[in-house]
Symmetry: C2
Subunit: 207 residues, 2 copies
DNA sequence: GTCTATATATAGATAGAC
DNA sequence: GTCTATCTATATATAGAC
C-alpha cells in the first residue's frame, strides 16, 4: 500500500484536487484557473498542491490521464458485453455510443476540459492527449474491423478515419446535449445518434 | 464609408488584429494569450489594441462573430445550390458537409478556438456563442425538415437533436482530420463522413 | 503532510506624447 | 490613430514554521 492509490492518505488529497480542478478548469479554462482556486475548492492550502504535484501543468496532465482511462475502459466494456451476448458489430457501436453518452452525462466537466484541448497542437500536454485519444479510437477501430471481417460493414470503410469520426460524433453529440438540450433523457439522444452510427437516417434504408 | 468595414483604415487594423488573435488563441487559449502578443503579431503597439477594442474580452467576442458568420453562410449557400440543381435533402447534407470540411480546412485555427469555447457555459461570451451555434443549427434544421416533408427522411427524426449531432459530426470530424490525419485529401474525409450523414455505413443499407 | 508567509514576474489597462 | 511609459493587481512557485 505504498503506491499512490485512492486508498492512501495522499491518494485522497490528490483525488480531491482532481475533482476541484476538473470543475474549475472546465468552466474557466486552464490558464484562467488559479492554483489558489483549486486549493480552496479542495479545502487545502496552496502549498499542499505543490507538495502533491510539481506544478500546475503537471497536475493537469495527470488529471487528463486519470480521467480518460475510465472512458476508454467503459467503451471497451460495452463492446465486449455486446459481443458476449452474440450481438453484431453495429449493435456493439450502439452500445458504445450509449456508454459514451452515459459517461459524458456523468462527467460533463471532464469531457469539456478534454475537448477544449484535444484538437490543439502546440500545447505541452498535447502528446499525452493524442495518446489517450489513440487508445479510445483503437477500441472503436477493433469493432469496425470485426464488422468488416464479418462482412457486416462495407470493406471500403476507412477504419482510421471512421473511428475518429464516430468518436467525435458521440462526444460532440453528448456535449451538445448537455449544453443545449439539458433535461432530454439519454434514450432520446441515443435514438437521435444511432441513425448516424448505423445508417438509418434515410427512411427505408438500414439493415 | 464611415462605418468600420474592411475598406477603411481602421477596418484594416482591426482585420490584422483579428488574424493575429485567431492564431494565438487557437494555440494557447484565450487566457494564456496576452494582448501584447496579439499586438506584436499584428505589428502594432498594445495601446492600439485598446484604442480599437475596449478590452481583451471585447476583441474576442467581436472576433467570434466576425469569424462565425462566413461559416453559416457557406453552409446555407451549399444547401441552396444543391436544391437549385434539383438535389435531394440527403444530397444537400452531403454538400453542407463538404462545405463545412472546406471551411475548417481553410480556417483550422478559427474552428479550434470556437470548439474550445462552444460547450462551456459560465463564460461571458457563451450567450454570443450559443446564438452563433443556433444560426448554423437552424440551417441544418431547415434541410432536415424539408427532407421529412418530402418523405425522404423518417418523420420520427428529432430535428433539433439531429441538427446538433450532424453539425457536431462535421466539425469534430474536420478537426480530427486536421489534427490527427493531416495530408489526407478532403475527398477521403468526405467519403468517410457521408455514411454517417446518409446511412450507408452498414453494408447493403442506404437508399 | 500541511500551512503561512513571501519573492518574482508578468498580466490588463490607462495617460499622455506625437 | 498610434506609440511609449507606467500603474496596479495578481499569478506561479518557494522557504520555512508547525
Amino acid at each position: 500500500m505504498t503506491r499512490t492509490g485512492t486508498g492512501t492518505r495522499r491518494g485522497a488529497t490528490r483525488q480531491r484536487l482532481y475533482e476541484a480542478a476538473i470543475t474549475l478548469i472546465a468552466e474557466q479554462g486552464f490558464s484562467s484557473t488559479t492554483v489558489e482556486q483549486i486549493a480552496e475548492r479542495a479545502g487545502v492550502a496552496k502549498g499542499t498542491v505543490y507538495y502533491n504535484f510539481g506544478s500546475k501543468t503537471e497536475l493537469f496532465e495527470e488529471l487528463l490521464r486519470h480521467g480518460a482511462r475510465p472512458f476508454t475502459a467503459e467503451l471497451a466494456r460495452a463492446a465486449r458485453a455486446e459481443f458476449a451476448r452474440g450481438g453484431s458489430a453495429a449493435a456493439a457501436l450502439d452500445a458504445m455510443a450509449r456508454a459514451g453518452l452515459a459517461f459524458v452525462a456523468a462527467q460533463p466537466d471532464l469531457t469539456r476540459l478534454f475537448v477544449a484541448e484535444l484538437w490543439r497542437p502546440n500545447r505541452t500536454w498535447h502528446s499525452a492527449l493524442a495518446e489517450l485519444r489513440g487508445h479510445a479510437a483503437g477500441v472503436v477501430e477493433e469493432v469496425l474491423e470485426r464488422g468488416v471481417a464479418d462482412g457486416e460493414f462495407d470493406a471500403s470503410v476507412d477504419v482510421g478515419l471512421a473511428a475518429g469520426a464516430l468518436l467525435g460524433t458521440v462526444v460532440a453529440g453528448a456535449l451538445d446535449w448537455q449544453t443545449f438540450h439539458p433535461g432530454r433523457p439519454i434514450d432520446e439522444v441515443h435514438a437521435a445518434l444511432c441513425p448516424l452510427l448505423r445508417g438509418r437516417l434515410a427512411g427505408g434504408g438500414g439493415p
